[in-house]
């Protein structure tokens, strides 16, 4: 029984479909990585789950969370869910915290809203949450404003806000991208530890396969608004089936390998207005055949243990 089940999710802005046919499951306590370049639709997927699509965005399909379809849930019920059993942290810790409210207030208001805590209790709980995310001198920091904190500390504060109500599912949208490399490792360690401690499921969105290999159990690779490949992290890294996954993996710098040019993927992700008719990766794919451009390939199980949307998956791998 999965905690969250996304089935055939599509998101469109007016006539433009930025996302279609996206399906995946997350089990309780599982860490799922969603990987792709910018423009692949991974953030849009997360926002659709939260019911926070930008103005004009419409979602179709099914998003089942604890037996409830989030897409048909009224806004009030969604509000009770957000920040309580589903929480989200964002890419930019600099701009994601409200500059005119103290860190403590921003944590405490979640507790007051969802747990009905009183001001004093919520403040005390905010301090222990800051300690949980390993912020030093939490008693002092709780009354400080975001601009008084470093980038890494702000992201820790964001995590504290998200964890305030012990969510069943944490959605982390590129939580380390905006941070220095050394700080990144610290945040990832923290997330891994907290996940084990609190037993929550994590949907980790990233463009960095290194991060994925670090903490994810299963991976969904997205390209141009569709799922390209999905499967257990180990299988995907050992035996990627989709040419796009292979290209992504080849682009990871490795400490042990020979120092040379990283094979970058030629071209860019097409914009939703001019997605190709067939396989959307075909124009950039070294293995493309005329057949690839006829119809979109369906996601299918492969003997290698992953699912991939590529008609030539067997030949390529």
């Amino acid at each position: 029984m999965s905690l969250l089940s996304v089935q055939d999710l599509a998101v469109s802005f007016g006539p433009t479909r930025v996302l279609e046919g996206v399906s995946f499951d997350i089990a309780e306590g599982e860490v799922l990585g969603v990987v792709g370049e910018s423009g692949s639709g991974k953030s849009m997927t997360a926002l659709a789950i939260m019911g926070l699509l930008p103005i004009g965005g419409r979602a179709a399909g099914r998003i089942t969370f604890q037996d409830r379809d989030l897409l048909t849930l009224p806004e009030r019920a969604m509000q009770r869910l957000r920040g309580d059993s589903v929480a989200m942290i964002f890419q930019e810790p600099m701009s994601s915290l409200n500059p005119v409210l103290t860190i403590g207030e921003q944590i405490a208001e979640v507790l007051r809203r969802h747990r009905g805590m009183r001001r004093r209790d919520a403040h005390a709980e905010a301090v222990s949450l800051l300690k949980l995310v390993e912020i030093a001198a939490a008693e002092r920091r709780v009354d400080e404003y975001p601009h008084q904190l470093s980038g890494g500390m702000r992201q820790r504060a964001m995590i504290a806000i998200a964890l305030a109500c012990r969510p069943k599912l944490l959605i982390a949208d590129e939580p380390t991208t905006a941070l220095d490399a050394t700080v990144q490792a610290g945040i990832l360690d923290l997330l891994r530890g907290l996940r084990r401690e609190l037993g929550m499921a994590v949907l980790l969105i990233t463009h960095d396969l290194g991060v994925v290999s670090d903490i994810c159990e299963r991976v969904v690779v997205m390209y141009a608004g569709r799922v390209a490949e999905a499967g257990p992290a180990g299988r995907i890294f050992e035996q990627p089936a989709h040419p796009y996954t292979r290209a992504l993996l080849a682009a990871i710098p490795r400490l042990e390998g020979p120092i040379g040019d990283l094979p970058a993927i030629p071209g860019v992700v097409p914009s939703p207005a001019d997605f190709p008719k067939g396989c959307r990766f075909a124009p950039r794919c070294a293995h493309a055949r005329p057949a690839c451009e006829v119809a979109p390939p369906v996601l299918r199980a492969l003997p290698s243990g992953t699912e991939a949307a590529c008609i030539r998956a067997e030949e390529v791998s």
Binding site: R82, G83, F90
Partner: protein
Amino acid sequence: MLRYAAGRLVSALPVLLIVSLLSFGIVWIVPGDVAVEMAGPTATAEELARLRERLGLTKPWHEQLIGWYGALLQGDLGESILLRQGVGAAIVERLPVTLSLTFTALLIAFVCGTALGVLAAVRAGKAADRAAMGTALIGFSLPDFWLGLVFVYLFAVVLGWLPTGGYVPFTQDPLGWAQAMILPAGTLALSQMGLFARMTRAAMLEVLRQDYVRTARAKGMPGWIVVGKHALRNALIPVVTVAGIACGVLLGGAVVIESVFSLPGVGRLIVGAIQRRDYPVIQGGLLLTATIFVLVNLAVDLLYAALDPRIRHGRR
């Protein structure tokens, strides 16, 4: 915070110095003889000489200036020629009327203006937005003194709901004060309400796009808290800076509104003085109004710091 406040205070000093110089200098631009203009064409040579003596016009200009500043430092603004009263005393007597009119108007303008602006921003592009912005535009396009007359005609003459004018001190009769204030303050507020509405709308649209508003929604905050707490607190920061300038405009508007509604305030004192060429009162009135403006803006700067923790801590 203290250092910030001290810094603002120090930077206000040169402005106040120039303000006092300009207030005094207004007599210098009067073409011809100030005494003749004040006393009128029928005055005798002896009367003129006495008037010149009283005004200090017999002394060279630099001595006049030193005398003005000397008296000013002792809180002396000179003598009114017509009222046979100290200018300072005449102004202080009328100040409560003007201040209650100005600040009531400021309050009305701020509250209604920001409300209109928030409404417009939240419903951006929809009918409510257009209605709110249309109201704002009409608000600062109507001549307020004329609107005051129309309101007097409507509410006092036709409907008989409110007095046509006059003032009741708040301490004497709060209800009477409110009745006497609602029309003049409402009229005066209209133009600045429009500006507050525009500023608030622009600031809110900017703020509603920010990541922290999305964070607030991701925390499950209901819409009115997202808008009223997370967004508005930030959007008000630029709006509050305009409050100081609005206060100046309102002080200027009060001059004519007081005349329309027969309120015995500083504005009517100054207008009377201007019509009868009572220069000491004009000088004192100008100086006082400008000083109030500078002080209000100082207060606004401090309020600004209170709203924005980044300024309070000396960043930015």
